[in-house]
């Protein structure tokens, strides 16, 4: 990543003063500069992305220091069957009654960068309820809490890297990045690989969401293909008769190879 800064004039954070049009313009200017600098083609999420206001004071200014991993970093934590109950993968059965909302299944595989399945590893998800409200003290959005939905799930991947969650489709919600800012519906995913260096936290989005075009967090990903790979695919074969609709979403971690080659 070049040492260049893409928004040096911007210093305030969380002021919620910019309009959506101003945010869109900032993103367009950065895209143009990135294309000019040749920062394209990889699924890199820049840490320095001023349209996402909270990043302004929280991204390192120094380039990441390239280092060979030591043995401990080539391994990662192990999670066994005792860590996760299979029922934790169903977010609709955690309370006395079913939650409000559109019941969905999300399934897919976790692979590493060499295409190998990541088996027996921990996946954690968390999300807002159908009204767009998190069960979190700091979430003061006026949408209702659902007493039958916590929005937290866990599972371990199968031998072929497969995971499967049953939940409800989260709602979009407002935030204070800029005036009239709304996050597209999304589910947070926390993923472990075999190595500590593969650790990933990301967000899964839903196809056709009109808010994706306005969201600086989604739009911060440089490469268009990489952005699209954050969006799940509707899959009618996952949809189940009178039960739920279905989405498919695969997650790819980095490879384990030690030598890095310049991407073409």
């Amino acid at each position: 990543m070049p040492a260049r800064t893409y928004g040096s004039a911007m210093t305030s954070s969380d002021a919620a003063t910019a309009t959506q049009a101003e945010i869109n313009e900032e993103i367009a200017v950065i895209r143009k500069a990135q294309a000019h600098d040749g920062v394209t083609g990889w699924s890199v999420t820049p840490l320095d992305f001023p349209p996402y206001r909270s990043s302004i004071l929280r991204h390192p200014n120094q380039p990441l220091h390239i280092v060979d991993p030591e043995e401990v970093e080539l391994l990662g934590p192990v999670f066994g069957p005792s860590d996760v109950d299979p029922l934790e993968a169903d977010l609709t059965i955690q309370h006395t009654a079913p939650p409000i909302g559109e019941r969905i299944v999300i399934t897919g595989r976790v692979l590493d960068g060499d295409g190998r399945p990541v088996s027996g590893q921990l996946l954690e998800i968390w999300q807002a309820n159908a009204a767009g409200r998190y069960l979190h003290l700091r979430d003061q959005h006026s949408a209702p809490i659902d007493p039958n939905f916590s929005g937290v799930g866990r599972c371990r991947t199968g031998t072929d890297g497969t995971y499967r969650f049953t939940t409800i489709k989260p709602g979009p919600y407002p935030w204070r990045n800029h005036h009239n800012a709304w996050r597209p519906a999304h589910i947070h995913f926390s993923v472990f690989g075999r190595a500590f260096t593969q650790r990933l936290v990301t967000q899964m989005y839903f196809p056709g969401d009109p808010l994706l075009a306005y969201d600086p967090i989604y739009q911060s990903v440089v490469d268009e293909g990489a952005r699209h790979r954050l969006v799940a695919t509707y899959d009618h074969d996952v949809t189940s008769h009178e039960q739920h609709t279905g989405y498919r979403w695969d997650i790819v971690l980095t490879g384990l190879r030690r030598t890095w080659t310049e991407p073409a």
Binding site: Y52, L57, L137, V201
Partner: protein, 177 residues
Amino acid sequence: MSEHPPTAGQTVGPFFGFALPFAGSAQLVPPNHPSAIQLVGGVFDGDDQPVPDALLEIWQTDKNGASIQEGGSLHRDGHTFTGWGRAATDNEGRYRFTTVRPPGFIAMAVFARGLGHRLLTRVYLPTAVVDALLTTLPEPRRATLMAAEPTPGHLVFNVHLQGPRETVFLRFPNEPA
């Protein structure tokens, strides 16, 4: 480009507190363990303000330097050392782990609202030998990776996301640029 480009990271956001930390997640060993040490510190932004919505994870060998591949972190039994822990920062941006002292360093991952992708770093024990990474760092940068030990068994390591005391964050050869 790889046939399997990695999934892009996205921020952990502000609302992970009800989901990711769990009972005992920051206690790799019980506080009364004979070899227990405290690893404490704060996370700070570019204005040197505390970051109250950061999440830290640590991963380490045991006190003899042996790699660990033991499950059980999510339901600790009080005896099995899994080498992994997780702590959210509090309202003052501070965190606390209870663990044992490994010979070299403790690997650390940093997540926060505002961070588009996790950051990785190393917490070197004051007694650690100067290794390949420390050798390549000029002194003011190297110091950002060294934990202080003001009293025995009480390690202090602050994470500065930005600014003159910015922590050295790492990229490994398996990661895209």
